[in-house]
């Protein structure tokens, strides 16, 4: 039985497992330990981790039972009623910063992170390398040059027009597939990257810059047509339906890494992971809303077993060792570290850009391919 097959669905087992653990832990006739329930609202990509029985066992060992609801990071920061939660755990630092500010939280925990990456296929990498868009980083991994990619998009380039492309002569535009930037954090991280480049290799720090940049990079999202609301759905398409549907997909490195570590065969030999240059880190940041919530944050950051488990799910943790060990163990083609990482804009600037793009969606303005 492949351990990871059920990962995404382990939530079902959650309830039963807790009972079993509590009963199992009671030892020599002593009463089962009363667990304190802590509720959290988290980005959906961390749910399999929180539902993992081994993770639940560690928390139970500390007297905690952690139950989570999922929501988009932007939602958590803006519309979710946080009163019933002991912690909020969005997938990005900007969202966490906003929650911290709104809730007057004293501190935050950033126990794990994952760089944004591009899941693609060897023939696509070859074609893009020929076009000068993909190059070697010199650090043992390949990168997608964002500046050159934006130029390609600006020209409205189609796959079948790329020189020497016999591997993927599709009559559709060269566009990275992303989720819907209005609902999903991974797309907002992509917006941060594209925005940095479009802003002359600088983080967007003013409203005026934001407005200009949003206008420039909007076609990256609008021209794709319909996009999904959660990051897992297009990744699943990538894995199951292959290159025809999703030639290049913006993902969290963790999504790809966890599949590699699981060794379940879902990453097939022609699949490749690139990193955009520059990239940003999706810094999963926990904002405690109660003392128990703070304890969850502390454990995630300090407990070595939780760190090891987080690495299994593809996250990079404070101690690099857990991740590196897994990479070595399955000989995963993943770099020890990713350089050329830039910061995302702060929450208000990022939100401003998303709102501007949302307005373009609503206005029904024809997408323009000339940023």
């Amino acid at each position: 039985m492949k351990r990871w097959i059920g990962v995404g669905l382990a939530l079902l087992l959650g309830g039963a497992v807790v009972v079993a653990l509590v009963v199992g832990n009671r030892g020599g006739g002593t009463k089962p330990r009363e667990l304190t329930l802590v509720r959290g609202v988290i980005g959906s990509e961390k749910k399999p981790f929180f539902d993992d029985q081994r993770v639940r066992a560690v928390f139970a060992g500390h007297g905690l039972r952690v139950e989570v609801d999922t929501a988009g990071s932007r939602q958590i920061a803006s519309s979710v009623d946080l009163k019933k939660y002991g912690f909020a755990f969005p997938s990005s630092a900007p969202a966490a910063e906003k929650i911290k500010r709104d809730q007057g939280a004293g501190r935050t925990f950033a126990p794990f992170s994952s760089p944004m990456a591009i899941a693609t296929f060897k023939p696509i990498v070859d074609v893009l390398a020929k076009a000068g868009v993909v190059r070697d980083s010199g650090q043992g991994y390949q990168v997608l040059d964002m500046r050159k990619y934006l130029d390609l998009v600006a020209k409205g380039t189609r796959w079948d027009k790329l020189p020497g492309n016999t591997a993927y002569p599709a009559r559709k535009r060269v566009l990275l597939t992303t989720t819907d930037v209005r609902t999903s954090n991974s797309a907002a991280m992509y917006l941060s990257i594209a925005g940095y480049v479009a802003n002359g290799d600088d983080v967007v720090t003013s409203t005026a810059q934001g407005a200009k940049v949003a206008q420039a990079v909007a076609p990256l999202f609008l021209d794709q047509g319909y996009s999904e609301t959660s990051t897992e759905a297009p990744f699943e398409d990538y894995l199951s339906l292959g290159m025809g549907k999703t030639p290049m997909l913006m993902v969290y490195e963790a999504q790809y890494a966890s599949r590699l570590f699981a060794g379940d065969g879902s990453i097939r030999p022609d699949m490749r992971l690139l990193y955009p240059s520059p990239t940003v880190l999706s810094k999963h940041t926990l904002v405690p809303l109660s003392p128990q919530g703070a304890e969850v944050g502390r454990l995630l950051q300090e407990d070595p077993e939780l760190g090891r488990l987080a690495a299994l799910y593809g996250f990079r943790t404070a101690s690099a060792k857990a991740f590196d060990d897994l990479v070595a163990k399955v000989k995963a083609p993943l770099p020890a570290s990713v350089i050329d990482v830039v910061e995302p804009p702060d929450y208000d600037r990022l939100e401003g850009m998303i709102t501007a793009i949302d307005r373009l969606y609503r206005s029904g303005a024809a997408p323009s391919s000339t940023p």
Partner: protein
């Protein structure tokens, strides 16, 4: 439980010609025997009735496309602890209800072949919680093997442009569902437009405009239409003149395996791309925590490798989990996915252009019972139904059901004898004044006299024969609320119909105290369908028929 299964089976057998019923009909898989009563047929629902609930029941509002999963879903109770109760609705009709909040509290989840259109409606996404894809099937062209060979498309790369060129030269004909009623038709329309527009990005107004002439060429070869993919496949299997079908790969493979086709279909995988249905099982935001748990269990069970393999083998859909690979039947072509519009305005524009400019025009005859028994609520319901089709229904599905530009509508009211036919021809644009005239005509209908069903139906056929233009979609709607009291009998009509050189389908609305048996026979004889409006709104039945016209 077994009684229930039997009831469902009996219902299905009886409904051979009645296959297309009120789409809102509640099909209780396991739970609703008590609610339906012994021996009840499957069409017990009304648009407002909520399906039976229970502690292990997950109430799902579904597209009729997933009907073929019923046998599998019956096992979910034992295997996953979830009793699945399905209620069916058309894609746009279902989207209407979810977006307006009409599904909240009555259903816990939805399961349509795609959520894409729904997601474009303002406020709809807030009503949806977790979405879990269960399986996938691209929309393709299936063509009679001999025709595919003749066109040289057998094992050779073909594009939508090639297909459109051949269609334009009338080298083949095909059937497709109405994009306003069914997802397969809508997906095909999006795909063909994206491919023909040559734009490479998601289609929007300018691309639609640019592609319209080519779309007209392509759809000039469409000679069969339907409101649902299943009915379309049945209708195709029963005839020999249409050369192919645009439908889900699963339906095309299923037809080939059914042994019902005189000649197998060759599946054409257009090299420039397809639009793929991904069947997201979707939790409604309004669902309670218990239901959320049931949803999680069902989704997990459906995505287990064994069930995924079973879905693939028994329903010809491709598995969604990467652990299970599609087998040989699905071929090895890499399917390029064409972009789908991300704006409601673009999607609506596309459907509107198809209905009012691109497709072949329809000629529609309404043979309407205005006998004495229609007096009161019934005649009012009829007036309301005609008003709705004349542009008064502004819901998503309603606005695409109105009498279309270029359509010829003939009203033949009847009582003891057929009345005088009145024909309205909608112009190519600016349909307002004609729609207003139809509305006024409907408003003036009066109920009196007897019921000469078969004389009047025959009058309808005579009228259709005398005026049918070649290339139009001609069909007859028969609405009656009681038994035949005057004139010729069903048998007389049947022998008349058999003698006709050109046949037209009759879509029958069962209403009031209709003779269900005889109405079913008319539908079966003419290759039409029955629509039961006894427990639902007459306007809803009329609206549903529009998908077949």
């Amino acid at each position: 439980m077994s009684g229930d299964v039997q009831a469902a089976r009996a219902g299905r057998t009886r409904s051979h010609a009645l296959r297309v019923r009120r789409m809102l009909s509640v099909l209780a898989l396991l739970a609703a025997t008590a609610a339906c009563g012994a021996g009840a047929s499957t069409d017990t629902g009304s648009p407002t009735a909520a399906p039976a609930d229970g502690p292990k029941v997950l109430r799902i509002l579904a597209g009729s496309e997933i009907k073929d999963l019923e046998p599998l879903l019956k096992r979910a109770e034992d295997a996953a602890g979830v009793r699945v109760v399905l209620s069916y609705a058309g894609t746009l009709d279902g989207a209407d209800r979810v977006a307006s909040g009409g599904a909240d509290g009555k259903y816990d989840a939805t399961w349509f072949s795609s959520n894409r259109y729904l997601s474009l409606i303002d406020g709809a996404t807030a009503r949806l919680s977790t979405q879990t894809k269960i399986m996938v099937s691209p929309v393709l062209l299936g063509l009679k093997a001999s025709k595919a060979r003749e066109l040289g498309w057998d094992g050779k790369p073909v594009t939508w442009n090639d297909i459109a060129a051949a269609a334009s030269a009338r080298k083949f004909t095909f059937g497709m569902t109405s994009p306003a009623a069914s997802n397969s038709g809508f997906s095909a329309l999006v795909g063909v437009t994206a491919a023909l527009s040559d734009a490479g990005e998601a289609v929007d107004k300018p691309q639609i405009e640019a592609a319209t002439p080519k779309l007209k060429q392509f759809f000039s070869a469409q000679t069969l239409t339907a409101g649902s993919s299943g009915w379309l496949a049945d209708a195709y299997a029963k005839q020999g003149t249409v050369d192919g079908l645009v439908n889900y790969e699963s339906v095309l493979l299923g037809l080939n395996a059914s042994g019902r086709l005189a000649e197998p279909l060759t599946l054409i995988y257009p090299g420039d791309g397809v639009v793929t249905a991904d069947y997201p099982l979707t939790l409604l935001s309004s669902a309670t925590p218990d239901k959320k748990e049931l949803y999680g269990k069902l989704a997990a069970w459906l995505r287990g490798p064994e069930v995924q393999r079973e879905i693939m083998t028994t329903t010809y859909r491709r598995p969604i989990v990467p652990e299970v690979r599609p087998d040989r039947r699905f071929g090895s072509a890499s399917l390029v996915e064409l972009p789908f519009p991300n704006r409601r305005s673009a999607a609506d524009e596309l459907i509107g252009v198809y209905l009012n400019q691109v497709r072949r025009p329809s000629r529609t005859l309404f043979v309407l019972d205005t006998s004495g028994s229609m007096e009161g609520d019934r005649i009012d319901a009829l007036k309301q139904a005609l008003t709705a089709l004349s542009g008064a229904d502004t819901s998503v599905s309603g606005s695409f059901s109105r009498f279309r530009d270029r359509e010829t509508v003939t009203m033949i009211p009847f009582n003891s004898a057929p009345g005088t036919p009145q024909t309205f021809t909608l112009p190519e644009r600016d349909p307002g004044p004609t729609l207003q005239r139809i509305r006024s005509y409907g408003e003036a209908l009066e109920a009196r006299g007897g019921t000469a069903i078969f004389d009047s139906l025959r009058a309808g056929y005579e009228q259709a024969r005398s005026s049918a233009g070649s290339g139009d979609f001609t069909s007859i709607v028969l609405m009656t609320d009681g038994d035949n009291t005057d004139g010729s009998s069903y048998e007389d009509f049947a022998s008349y119909y058999r003698s006709l050189p050109v046949k037209f389908r009759t879509f029958v609305v069962i209403f009031g105290d209709s003779n269900v048996n005889e109405m079913g026979k008319i539908a079966q004889l003419t290759g039409g369908a029955t629509f039961d409006a006894r427990s639902g709104a007459l306007a809803a039945a009329f609206k549903e028929i529009r998908g077949y016209q």
